[in-house]
Symmetry: C2
Subunit: 650 residues, 2 copies
Amino acid sequence: MSGEFNREQLESVLKRRFFYAPAFEIYGGVSGLYDYGPPGCALQANIVDVWRKHFILEEDMLEVDCTMLTPHEVLKTSGHVDKFADWMCRDLKTGEIFRADHLVEEVLEARLKGDKEARGEKVEEVEEDDQKKKRKKKVKEIKAVKLEDSVVEEYETILAKIDGYSGPELGDIMVKYNIGNPATGEPLEKPMAFNLMFETAIGPSGQLKGYLRPETAQGQFLNFSKLLDSNNEKMPFASASIGKSFRNEISPRSGLLRVREFLMAEIEHFVDPLDKSHAGFKSVENIKLTFWPKEVQEKGSTETSKITVGEAVRSGMVDNETLGYFLARIYLFLIKIGVNPDRLRFRQHMSNEMAHYAQDCWDAELQTSYGWIECVGCADRSAYDLTVHSARTKEKLCVRETLPEPKVVERLECQIDKKRFGPKFRKDAPKVEQWLFSRTECELEDLAKELDEKLKITVQIPETTIPEVEIPAELLKIEKVTKTEHVREYIPSVIEPSFGIGRILYSIFEHSFWSRPEDSARCVLSLPPLVAPTKVLLVPLSNHETLQPVLQVVKDKLKSKQIPFKVDDSSASIGKRYARNDELGTPFGITIDFESIKDNSVTLRERDSTLQVRGSIESVVEAIVNITYNQVSWKEGTKHLESFESKADE
Amino acid sequence: MSGEFNREQLESVLKRRFFYAPAFEIYGGVSGLYDYGPPGCALQANIVDVWRKHFILEEDMLEVDCTMLTPHEVLKTSGHVDKFADWMCRDLKTGEIFRADHLVEEVLEARLKGDKEARGEKVEEVEEDDQKKKRKKKVKEIKAVKLEDSVVEEYETILAKIDGYSGPELGDIMVKYNIGNPATGEPLEKPMAFNLMFETAIGPSGQLKGYLRPETAQGQFLNFSKLLDSNNEKMPFASASIGKSFRNEISPRSGLLRVREFLMAEIEHFVDPLDKSHAGFKSVENIKLTFWPKEVQEKGSTETSKITVGEAVRSGMVDNETLGYFLARIYLFLIKIGVNPDRLRFRQHMSNEMAHYAQDCWDAELQTSYGWIECVGCADRSAYDLTVHSARTKEKLCVRETLPEPKVVERLECQIDKKRFGPKFRKDAPKVEQWLFSRTECELEDLAKELDEKLKITVQIPETTIPEVEIPAELLKIEKVTKTEHVREYIPSVIEPSFGIGRILYSIFEHSFWSRPEDSARCVLSLPPLVAPTKVLLVPLSNHETLQPVLQVVKDKLKSKQIPFKVDDSSASIGKRYARNDELGTPFGITIDFESIKDNSVTLRERDSTLQVRGSIESVVEAIVNITYNQVSWKEGTKHLESFESKADE
């Protein structure tokens, strides 16, 4: 492949061929919403199909399809109502709203560029999307201003850590470095949290508040017990879900990369927290991946290391085998659907980026003209989600495992004086009782100590009528009891590989787009045959009716093998017809000519090389099936066919 | 198949096997929202896959994937903001909300039942869902009250036409027949329109109002020009879309039949309004369908007629060939995925049910224990949607067709005195001008007449600053002009087959569920192999390690043919293991025994008949492929295999 990548040219092809387009375009569009046209829709369906086979079928995962509408209470418990937010700054004068981290990033990048220009250094041109470009045009920053060396260093450190700052921290940076509305230079309001969930009301009374899900994960967690039952109570196991999720982005940008409605494919792998080994690890441990661990990022360095998954797990860089296994499987999937392995890296989340409960988290990032983009996240969410939902609903979301042999254990246990409990606490009695009996071993130790020292315990118990509950020693004993346990009960940990299909799809466009060296206007999308929207273009040499019967034979043959094809019987030259389909990523072309009538032979053309071979209809279709679905190379797949020279591509 | 259908038993199986379950069940659930578990999800995916092949691939339709979030303006134009509503009645005392038509239906049905009891007639038990049952229990209607014969007749007429009443009409019925809150008998508020769309705000300012789409159609209409271009400007053509839609039902009920979030598959077939013939009509015209035309319904009769599609179109009962073609294709699709043809009828919409713009509309209704359920709609929407969006956005959504030869036509045309137009109408001038030039031929005729008679025209023009615009004859001429036209421009009509996947799926459960006569606790879901969630159950006779290598060979063979299978190596008896999978609808079982080690032979069992045959692994897998995917019968597919007698099912 050759020629400099030209995003404008790619976008023009994607638009002209209706891979995707702004939704509601005739109404002026809504930012962050896109429709997929026929080739985009087929490409997306093929990627989803490969995903389903690669993950769900090959690994026997349990697929579920849960609702997008989600009641308030569920997302309150999961933490999304309180924490699923970005920081936004308002310009009170103009009414404009900026996303704080993006604003800091853009302004500092612009200043660094000015500095480089002032120093007479070459400025690397990073391509930008229209919206960002428009905003930059307005930036009042004086161009070509030299900065202090120490300031350059500070800016670079901030940019390397930009994903890790809290709202107040961003506010401080904006004050310290005098970052305001780029168009006017005026200061902005302090960053405020803006919840990214779309809210709606469920039912006619309007009283049940709900949201559109921001991820597909919660539905899988809530169904945990049913899924465990479906899996015959065997652990570990994984569920999976493919469906739309929604985020009300403050300022959608970068085309398909930051949108408000998007297709996700998520896996929740449930595993024993004490044993995160993986039965399939051996099969992937020698695969080499490009890692960018957190320590390196925290130093402000972008240096990556290419080592095997085995080494990464053994050295402790990747927390456990299951996480390592999935990183490798993610890699294999991405390569299969057309990602360039040299433009894929695994970035570990820094400690300040991760949720407090997360054990370890890695993003598969793909390099595009917009920079490195997070396309797949792979997090160890520990037992957080199951624990909070279980606590909130009082439904056990846990695994019960028969111990190989019974175990004698000492446990602290509460004993209460039932007769006196009721009269003392009245309506609150059941709440107090329940609270006592749901304490952990560790909490009971503290309570026992308090009871021993003060002859009473004083605690706050939610949903009781009094602010503090006092339980005297006469009513409560906390003592060690010897027990024989036959069953171990635990809440599993969750390893979650989560795929943003739209982002992956866009990255594949960039990774597979090029133009022919002999004519830069002739563009090609080198999509792997497996995911290409259409596999074969049928090109009858002319519209002469004698060619129709052979054309029909080829069509029937392709249909019987379920190979998606299109016919182009327009009057354009064969070269032109192929050129159009190179833009659509169609990997194969079959030319039907007057020879075909005589001997049933046809010509097969390969998109990237424009090489042609000739053979019987039967053998040509066979070659297409093998190359498309059975991972056979062009050379191997066509070795029984004759090489063929013609001027089709002229 | 035998045994009375028992809905409770079916529901218990569907729940136990996690085909689907109420969403957020551990939080108490939200009515009208369901999650699909692994077998339900696989069944749904298979139905969608068959749909995609049957319609999109076989007919070369253009698939699109449009956003669910839709801005207010689009749905205002389409009419949904004003008209997509059900009628609800509030009980001001209790706060309860009822859907008016459902309420009238339930109360009159209960009274008719009471009448039958009083007359000593046998009362047919129609199964009801829990919610309806609960409500009925509360019904204060005195049981076993005999009604006047004339009243019975009136009730029956109302029930036959229940889908066609407006809100005020329902209100009148409620007053006339004294229908109030069934629990208390108290009167309710008059029916009020309740819009069924979920509303939300798009973007951080909260100022862009949006809705979750109530159908997938609008996205297809808005992309019409791009789609026509993708189809090389050729007409007719169809687009298609598969995705979720949303309706905020007043009182969701009947399980999967009336839900708030559901999967739809919709086709928009764009066709010349002057020529609604269909190239494929010949291939389906001899298919016999069961029709229930509107005239018969309007008489209050439920009599249907079984005639060919050809006859139906020729007699004018079905409006045109394209509509007839799709009714037949819908029939073929439904039969393929397991609908019982005897429980399928096509009901024509009555004139008062149809939107004013609709030309003709037929529903494919499936019979279930809840009655006849609309599962597919097939409407001729005429050019309505494209016309209104085009008028609103000023974007042409039309087809331009070069005429075979130029045509000389007379057309009325407006000529205005530009110089005096501006000063007279000032700011309104462009609006007035645009209004004049966008009149139809027919409207111009009226205006010309008015101008001629009164020497001025007086009209209301939207968005002008004055309520009435007066245009004097000095400023305006409307005259016949002779023109040579080379191109015909028209807005196409749309024929829309629209599938509710969840309703179809539930109906298939009912149509395929039965229990074995010898043991009514042994239930079977006779899903067609093509859509069954899992195709094969592998049953090793024992867990002895010598069986493992053969088991692996069978697994590899099935994987290579991409046949979904499960292994059950539990210690349960073979009969038990099969019984469990009969409930899951798994059509085939392969038993691996000690003979298998010697000669590589295995036993193949068929779910419905429990017949068994034996042969080599190769030939058994071959038979499964042919029966599942190549429409071969069990008898034909296994004719080379030996019949085998054993006691597997005991």
